[in-house]
Amino acid sequence: MADKRTMTLNLTDQEMSLLEELSARRDVSKTALLRQALRLYQMVEVRLSRGEKLFFEDEQKKKAELVVV
């Protein structure tokens, strides 16, 4: 297991509520959820930097490109 470092995170009430809701839905701790979010962010960044595009597809197979800034 890699060494870990600790940080303090300041969140608004809404952000904290969302974090609690998502971590409960995924059945992981808030820390684990934030680590997953960070990795997801990196994965998206890496793939976009390779020239790939990120799409959402609805039930009618209609695609919408997500522009990440």
Binding site: R25, D27, M43
Partner: protein, 210 residues
């Protein structure tokens, strides 16, 4: 990370100490292409010539070197097993992504660790080595890799939950030997069978593996 693990030497039936590691590099991928792939292809040709098409490894075309760009993405974790200075098995896990959600009704939507690729060195696969008139050398490589996946899941707070798409030839290994729950065929992934562990099943597997 480097851990001592036990695999079975089929020549003696006795356990031997191998090394499980997660510092996988592109050199390991090249090693699979140089050391594994020629044997896999030779065995596949033999099996095809005998008409034993159902035994031809469905992963014969895999090329780990194509995964080199994924080595530095934190969502991915790679594990290898080394013994006698040879790579005996290789696995890629994803802790985030499209397939990192449970599908079993009792844990649907919960986070899991997805086992994206598992490959055991061809000289450890009985059907392949039989086709070449040889015996498989080491056993329990696949089980040790699944054990590592479960431990990674626990480390990631996924409580041992893992999921994977199995090739048809390995379905019985995951369902019977590992006792994972077959959930159903996935049209989004070549209609492969999706199997999953609950935390309890994962713990049972770890207990049995020790």
């Amino acid at each position: 990370m480097k851990n001592r693990i036990r695999i079975i030497d089929n020549a003696t039936g006795q356990p031997v100490e191998a090394e499980l590691f997660d510092e996988v590099t592109v050199e390991h991928f090249i090693e699979t292409q140089q050391e594994w792939r020629p044997i896999v292809l030779k065995a596949a040709r033999q099996l095809a010539a005998r008409g034993s098409h159902q035994l031809i490894p469905q992963h014969f075309h895999w090329d780990w070197t194509t995964k080199a760009p994924e080595l530095n993405v934190l969502a991915n974790t790679f594990y290898g097993i080394r013994y006698e200075n040879k790579l005996q098995g290789l696995m890629k896990l994803e802790t985030v992504g499209q397939f990192c959600s449970c599908r079993l009704p009792e844990q649907a939507g919960n986070a899991l660790v997805y086992v994206d690729y598992v490959e055991v060195a061809p000289w450890n696969l009985k059907p392949l080595m039989s086709s070449l008139g040889e015996k498989a050398r080491y056993n329990a490589i696949g089980s040790r890799l699944i054990e590592a996946a479960v431990l990674k899941s626990k480390e990631e707070d996924c409580k041992g939950r893992i999921g994977l798409h199995s090739l048809p030839i390995t379905e019985s290994f995951y369902a019977k030997a590992c006792r994972m729950t077959p959930v159903g065929r996935d049209p989004a992934k070549q209609n492969l069978l999706w199997l999953e562990y609950t935390p309890e099943q994962a713990e049972n597997f770890l207990t049995g593996a020790r």
